[in-house]
């Protein structure tokens, strides 16, 4: 097989090159050289027929984005659903939301691999600056709110081990700086993947909490018992469960990371394996958090209110024992930490792409000041807010996922438009079936987000 250097693939990308009279042998930047080294390994693994090594080289963005979205607020949201309503409805609902996530993230990976451009850059160039900045503005807003919630989750996890917020916040920022210090995408990805493995602690906590597996199986198949209680609370949990699984930052991150990693159309099959594997692992671990939380159902679990007081680790210690509580607390620290890294990275990608500044982890901090600055700056701002006394962290954390759900349809609509753009995607454009499924997902998410937002708003202004 020949090396992967091929002519420009699609009409839009070809036009981008020709309109500017691109030289076909431009000078290589250090970013190109770093990416080329990774592609060299991929080429050799493919040529030598080393399948598992090839898979190892090509996985990353899909698993990272899925386990990154199993973040602190998401796991608390899943556990809150389990503690409030038991295993019923929400266990299979989580599985469905991850199927939706896989459909959306596969499109991100495909668009990134085919165009080699990030989501923010493509929206800006293809649909105009207004839309590009609107999408980036959405992202920065929801990312900041979500990052605050991540630091809260780290704080809750550490507080179980009697470590305070003054340690938790700087630790999170230091972690961001440490992972960014290599100047290589590959190194960053592998370090974060290594950390993300510990998302499995939630599954371990679930197993050790001793659930009745027959009840778990019945809940998955039957969606029952259906949760009772107030309609608004149910809508909040549905909206936040969706917001815990499919979010704007995931779209920015996986497309940009796929381009930054250097994926090409010849890697699409492995990119799909990566995304599906990430979805399966994240669904398993998310269900683990819900099952662990369900141990509190009937033990006052509904009154824990997510992040208040000792929260879940403390409550679990009384019901399921110290081991389960310790695993849950460690899981929260991991979930928050990995999400801080991936969400900060997506902020850096979005800002760099929209401003047109260098935006790659294969670049040094000196060459990509804005990218690295936005990356660390987002984490710094969130950490600083967490340290302010009296800030309503509980409300911020609970509303973060809902806000992400409300803003998600905009990001998804542009993603679908990009993925079905034949001029841009050529032969790798969405199939008719993918189009239909993706449009149905956007309609469902829009409906859920709108229902919660309108119902809560009408309640707040005393109209219902």
């Amino acid at each position: 097989m020949s090396p992967s250097r091929v002519p420009v693939a699609t009409p839009a990308l070809e036009a981008a090159g020709e309109s500017a009279g691109v030289l076909r042998q431009p000078a290589l930047t250090p970013e190109d050289a770093a990416r080329s080294r990774d592609r060299f390994r991929v080429h050799n693994a493919r040529t030598d027929g080393r399948r598992w090594y090839l898979l190892w080289l090509l996985v990353g963005p899909g698993i990272l984005v899925m386990l990154g979205e199993n973040d602190g607020p998401s796991m608390i949201s899943y556990a809150a659903s389990g503690a409030t309503y038991g295993l019923g409805f929400f266990l299979p609902f989580i599985l469905i939301t991850f199927v939706m996530a896989v459909v959306c993230q596969e499109m991100c990976m495909r668009v990134g691999a085919v165009t080699h451009r990030g989501y923010g850059q493509l929206v800006l160039e293809r649909f105009g600056r207004l839309w590009g900045w609107f999408a980036a503005g959405d992202l920065v807003l929801t990312n900041l709110v979500t990052l605050i919630a991540e630091f809260v989750a780290i704080r809750i996890g550490l507080s179980y081990f009697h470590v305070g917020a003054r340690v938790a916040a700087p630790l999170g920022v230091l972690l961001v700086v440490f992972t960014l210090s290599g100047g290589r995408y590959w190194r960053w990805e592998r370090v974060v993947l290594g950390m993300a493995v510990f998302n499995g602690l939630f599954l371990l906590a679930a197993i050790l909490s001793g659930p009745r597996w027959g009840t778990v199986g019945h809940a998955v198949i039957s969606f029952s018992p259906f949760p009772g209680g107030s309609f608004n609370t149910l809508l909040l949990l549905i909206a936040s469960t969706i917001g815990a699984t499919v979010t704007p930052w995931m779209i920015f991150f996986q497309q940009s990371a796929s381009a930054d990693k250097g994926l090409t159309p010849s890697d699409l099959r492995h990119g799909r394996y990566d995304t599906v594997a990430g979805g399966v692992l994240a669904a398993l671990f998310g269900c683990g958090a819900l099952i662990a939380g369900a141990a509190l159902f009937g033990h006052g679990g509904a009154n824990i209110q997510g992040l208040a007081g000792a929260g879940f680790p403390g409550a679990l210690a009384h019901v399921s024992g110290d081991t389960v509580a310790t695993l849950f607390a460690l899981g929260l620290i991991e979930a928050g930490a990995v999400a801080v890294l991936t969400i900060s990275a997506s902020t850096g990608y979005a800002v760099g792409e929209c401003i047109g500044a260098p935006h790659s982890l294969n670049n040094s901090a000196r060459n990509a000041v804005l990218f690295y600055g936005a990356n660390v700056g987002a984490a710094l701002i969130a950490a600083a807010i967490v340290l302010i006394p009296g800030v309503p962290l509980l409300s911020i954390a609970l509303n973060a996922n809902v806000l992400a759900t409300v803003l998600l349809p905009v990001a998804l609509v542009f993603l679908i438009m990009l993925a079905r753009d034949r001029e841009l995607m050529g032969q790798w454009v969405n199939s008719a079936a993918t189009d239909r499924i993706a449009i149905a997902i956007v309609a469902f998410i829009s409906l859920c987000g709108a229902a919660y937002a309108i119902d809560s708003f009408l309640g707040a202004v005393h109209l219902i």
Binding site: V22, D32, R35, Q121, A460
Partner: protein, 62 residues
């Protein structure tokens, strides 16, 4: 790790190079219906975000 004949440029696609990625792709030609749909989507997002943010502050006060 790398062989003597390793040429970095060989292993990247043309449009994968930083120089190529800096060239903007052409604007999409949207039909009137698509443009209207996008405006409706923008209004949807802004109105619902305002509702969520209002509700958030209302909850803080209660």
């Amino acid at each position: 790790m790398f062989h003597g004949d390793y040429d970095p440029q060989t292993y990247l696609e043309h449009d994968q190079l930083v120089a190529d990625k800096l060239r903007p792709v052409p604007r999409a030609r949207l039909r009137r219906g698509a443009r209207l749909g996008l405006w409706a989507l923008r209004i949807f997002a802004i109105v619902l975000s305002a509702m969520v943010i209002y509700t958030f502050f209302w909850q803080l006060g209660h």
